[in-house]
Amino acid sequence: MGILEVKNVRKRFGGLQALSNVNLSVTENSVHAIIGPNGAGKSTLLNCFVGKLIPDSGSVMFDGQSVLGRAPHEINQMGISRVFQTPEIFGDLSVMENMMIPCFAKRDGAFEFNAVSAISSQKDIIEQAEQVLEDMNMVNKRHMHASALSRGDKRRLEIGMCLSQEPRLLLLDEPTAGMARADTNNTIDLLKEIRDKRNITIAIIEHDMHVVFSLAERITVLAQGAPLVEDTPENIKGHPKVREAYLGETV
């Protein structure tokens, strides 16, 4: 029984069958990659996990509980954090504030009317946020406006924000899309470190095979809205169907 169990999920947009009968099981404390050509339904599937989309039929269970019909914030409070394709951070706030907000969400829940105490008096939150900044190697940037960060730092910040919530499942949507090689390698190292040091399950959607093969323990190949194969990276590399459908000439 995996931490995330996806059963018979279908989703149709008008005339387009985006997902047709997807089954997937993500084992706890593993890194599971979902790959597939453009339009295979990877992002649609991910959106079904976090409450942005509701599938037409099927079930998505997280740790034995259904996530379907729940709002994004409820799903997050269950322990799923998401990193977006383009970093979604609070651009108008400082890096430190960016890091504190998820800490508040973790401590106080989805809503807490705390207009009485000053932020500076929240010692535990500040400590926690500083700790994550240190882990992310961003302490020297704590006063910067988040919008002024480089692309790689924005990604780092976003991952840090997700980690500060100590999620059980971390979803990454093409975390290295549009990044320079050096930034990509930094991100891979960061994710490896997370994989090795924390008890977090990671599900990652990725285009870049280099990223996938250096991180994933299991890979699901999605094609035309349905899983083609699911196997270990070694077997996927050699799988004829995958070569044909997706990897083709690149490997």
Partner: protein, 402 residues
Amino acid sequence: MFGLNQKDGQLILIIAILVFLAPFLLNPFPVESELAQFNAGYPDLMQRFIIFGIFAIGFNILFGLTGYLSFGHAAFLGVGSYSAVWMFKLLSMNIIPAVILAVLVSGVFALVIGYISLRRSGIYFSILTLAFAQMSFALAYSVLTPITGGETGLQLALDDPRILGQQITEQGNIPVPSLFGLEMRDSMDVVIGPWLFTFNVGYYVCAIIMMISFYIAVRIFRSPFGMMLRAIKSNQQRVNYTGLYSRPYMLAAFVVSGMYAGLAGGLMAAMDPLAGAERMFWTASGEVVLMTILGGAGTLIGPVLGAGMIKYMENIISKINETILHEWFRWMPDGIEDLVVTLIYPFIGKGWHLTLGIIFMVVVIFLPGGLVEGGQRIMRLFRRRSKSRNTTNSSDTFDSAS
């Protein structure tokens, strides 16, 4: 001091000093001088500075922090006024229950309107709030006449019950609003040489209430709640995916800001015990938007500055007429004098709205941060000149929004 950091404490202290010395500061010109018409230190106008300041402070909690532009905040002001006047009619002329009821009733109103309006965001939110306010205005004007007094407005009458207070004064008049016997309209005139200063009870009552409101606003800005609101403004999607439910945050901000408007409305009635539907008209909502933007939305002091500036212009610039202009420019050669007067004339007197519109446009285009940003730019310019270079950005993060 009071759970504030040093910078905020200083800011509040400075404002408190300015507000309490305002009767002096706003009357810099001797009574007999030509410039006396620029004196703003008379009770009626000073009360208005303060009351609209409160209104704008509250509006800023919603717009400045969350970026949600409400075009219907005047409805809460009107509701506050009506509630206060009803308190004067039924209970007593003491302003405390009147103001408290004004705040509570407008809070309930804001809860209902906010609950519905906040289901949508962006321009739809603006239109929904506008629709609600216009609806309230139309109803107050017509069907609700028994409660609102309709076109004539809600006024006090001799036969109002006032069960806890005096129904009629010994002279047979309607009593005036008071704070435990201290009448709001009471003033003390102090003559120092050619100067005249008026110290009005109502003004100081309002001033104290404004300082409390301002203090609360500062606390909200510096609280985790305030930070969440800024986060919503910055990236609502990320807020939701961070496990925070943005709607109750927004609703809380909306209600708090509606209560500020109700407080302002209640004080308005406390200074002058009548209430009319025109206080709810959408132009009145537009006015508080202007004040907040002009001063600087999202800053602490901006809305107060904006409110002061607009009310000053409304009262002082609108009083300047052609004769006064001619007097000012008498030293110029005749032809040029006429030309100058003709050029300036459209912008003063009845044309002050034109000046207001132009200033407002200039601010939105060139100074989105309002007067506060303008001030900061000038300061920076001076600093850059005085010190050759000092690059460290030393402002601490969670109080950078001053």
